[in-house]
Symmetry: C2
Subunit: 264 residues, 2 copies
C-alpha cells in the first residue's frame, strides 16, 4: 500500500460558501472505504469545534464521521483506538495549539496506529495547528523579548508525515514571514512552506509533489541554496542570502524532491 | 564628480534615542560643504514635519538646514532654487505621499537642478515616501477591490536615482510582501527591495552597492531569475517561481550590479 495523501490547510478554510478545501478532503476520502475521523486534540473547545466539522463532513462526505476527543495521553492509549483508526478513510485534525497535539499524542498507541494506517493509505487533513504538526520539525511559537531585543523561535517535533519541510500557517494574514525565515536560518536543509488562510496544499504521490488549492498563495523558501547565514554570530537582525523563493497560486504544482515547480 | 550617495529609509526612523540612521545621513553630509536641505513636498504637514527634521539635523550636522516647502509646481520653478540647491551638502526628503513628490516636482526646475547637483555629489536621503520615490519605477499604492476580487497595483515614475529597482518601505510592519511580489511579476527585470521601519540602505559607489543600517531587515527579491510568472493569465492569486531572495541585516552589503551579496 502507498502512504496516504495529505491535505495541509493554512487555517480559516471556508465552511459556509463553496467549501472548496473541505470538499476536496471529502472527495479524497471517498476514494477509500469508511468514515472520516475528526481529531479535536489541538483545540480547547473540542465539543464545539468537533461538532462543526462533524456536520460539515457528514454533508460533504455522506457518511457520519467519528469524533476523536483525545485530550489526555491516557485516552490516547485506549484499546479501542487501533480498530477505529483502521476503519477510517481519512483523519482530519482541527486547529488549536500544535503543542497539544504532539504533547498529548506523541508516542502513544493512537500515534503509532495513526502512522501505521497512514502508511496503508489513510488520508490525513489538518488545518492551522493540524497543518503545523504535519512535518517532522514544527514551529511551536515565536516570542519577541522587547527588552532584551531577542526573538526566540520555539521548535519541536511534529508528526513527521513530511521530511525536510516546515509548515507555517495563516502565513500572509499573520505576517509570519520573519519567523519562517528564522526557522530556515536554523535549519537550512529544509523547505519553508507558508500557507495562507483558506488555502491548502494537497500532497500526493507519497509526498513527492503537491498542488495548491484555495483562495490565496503558498510561499516557498528553499534554504538549501543559501550561500550565507549569520545567525550564529548575529542574534539580532540576521542575514541570509540566496534563498530560492516561489509564490504559488491555485493550480500550481511543486515537486518536493527536486524542489522545483512543475510547469505543465 | 561622482554621483552622490543615497540613504533610503524604510520609514519611522528613530528620532529620539540613538538616531542611528539620521546621524549617518548627517555624517555623510559632513564630508561635503554646506547645509542640509529638507524637502517637505510629500507631507501634508510641512511646517510640523519640516521643523522636526530642522531641529534634528541642526543638532546632528551642526549647520542650520534650509527648508524647501515646495507644495506647488509654481513654487518648484522659483528662480532662487538652483543656487540654493547648489549650496547644499545633502537633501533629505520627508515622508508623506510619494505621488505628491512626483506630481508636484516632476520635470520642474527644482527637479532638473536636483539631478544636476546629485550628479555632482549631492547626498540624497529620504524616508517612507521619500524612499519610494528614489527609483525610476515606483509603487504608488495597491488597492484590493473585494467585490471584484481584483487587486490593482498603481505604479508610476519616481525620481530615477536608481534603475532596475523598486523600493517598498514599512516592509514588515505593513505586510507589503504581496504588493512587492506583484510589482516584480509586472516587472521581472527589477530587484524589489523591501525596507523595514527604522532600517535603511546606504547606496554608495555611484549606485553599485549598498549597506544595510538600522534596526530590522531589508528583503531583496530578484525577479530576473524567475522561470515562470502567470500574471498575464491569472488575475487572482498568481504564481511566480524561482525568485532569488535575500534577507539582510545591519552590516550586510549587496552589489546591485551583480545582484549578489558581498561576503567579506
Amino acid at each position: 500500500m502507498a502512504k496516504g495523501d495529505l491535505l495541509i490547510i493554512g487555517g480559516n478554510e471556508d465552511k459556509s460558501e463553496n467549501k472548496l478545501i473541505l470538499s476536496r478532503f471529502a472527495a479524497l476520502c471517498r476514494n477509500r472505504q469508511g468514515p472520516i475521523g475528526i481529531l479535536t486534540t489541538a483545540t480547547g473547545l473540542p465539543e464545539e469545534v468537533g461538532s462543526e466539522y462533524e456536520k460539515l463532513f457528514k454533508s460533504l462526505h455522506g457518511i457520519k464521521p467519528i469524533l476523536f476527543h483525545l485530550d489526555s495521553r491516557e485516552k490516547a492509549e485506549d484499546s479501542s483506538l487501533p480498530e477505529q483508526l483502521s476503519s477510517l478513510s481519512g483523519l482530519f485534525m482541527t486547529g488549536g495549539d500544535q503543542l497539544r497535539l504532539t504533547s498529548i499524542l506523541g508516542g502513544t498507541s493512537f500515534y503509532k496506529h495513526l502512522h501505521k494506517q497512514w502508511n496503508n493509505g489513510l488520508i490525513i487533513g489538518g488545518t492551522s495547528a493540524g497543518a503545523a504538526v504535519m512535518s517532522r520539525l514544527m514551529i511551536i511559537s515565536s516570542k519577541l523579548f522587547e527588552k532584551e531585543e531577542i526573538s526566540v523561535l520555539e521548535m519541536g517535533s511534529g508528526f513527521g508525515f513530511l521530511e525536510d519541510v516546515i509548515i507555517d500557517q495563516h502565513f500572509s494574514q499573520r505576517d509570519r514571514f520573519s519567523r519562517l525565515m528564522r526557522a530556515i536560518a536554523l535549519n537550512p536543509q529544509i523547505i519553508g512552506i507558508g500557507i495562507d488562510e483558506n488555502t491548502a496544499i494537497w500532497v500526493h504521490n507519497e509526498g513527492e509533489q503537491f498542488e495548491v488549492i484555495g483562495e490565496y498563495n503558498v510561499s516557498i523558501f528553499d534554504g538549501k541554496t543559501s550561500t550565507y547565514i549569520d545567525i550564529a554570530e548575529n542574534k539580532g537582525n540576521m542575514t541570509i542570502s540566496d534563498i530560492r523563493f516561489h509564490t504559488l497560486g491555485a493550480g500550481a504544482v511543486f515537486n518536493l524532491h527536486t524542489r522545483e515547480m512543475i510547469i505543465s
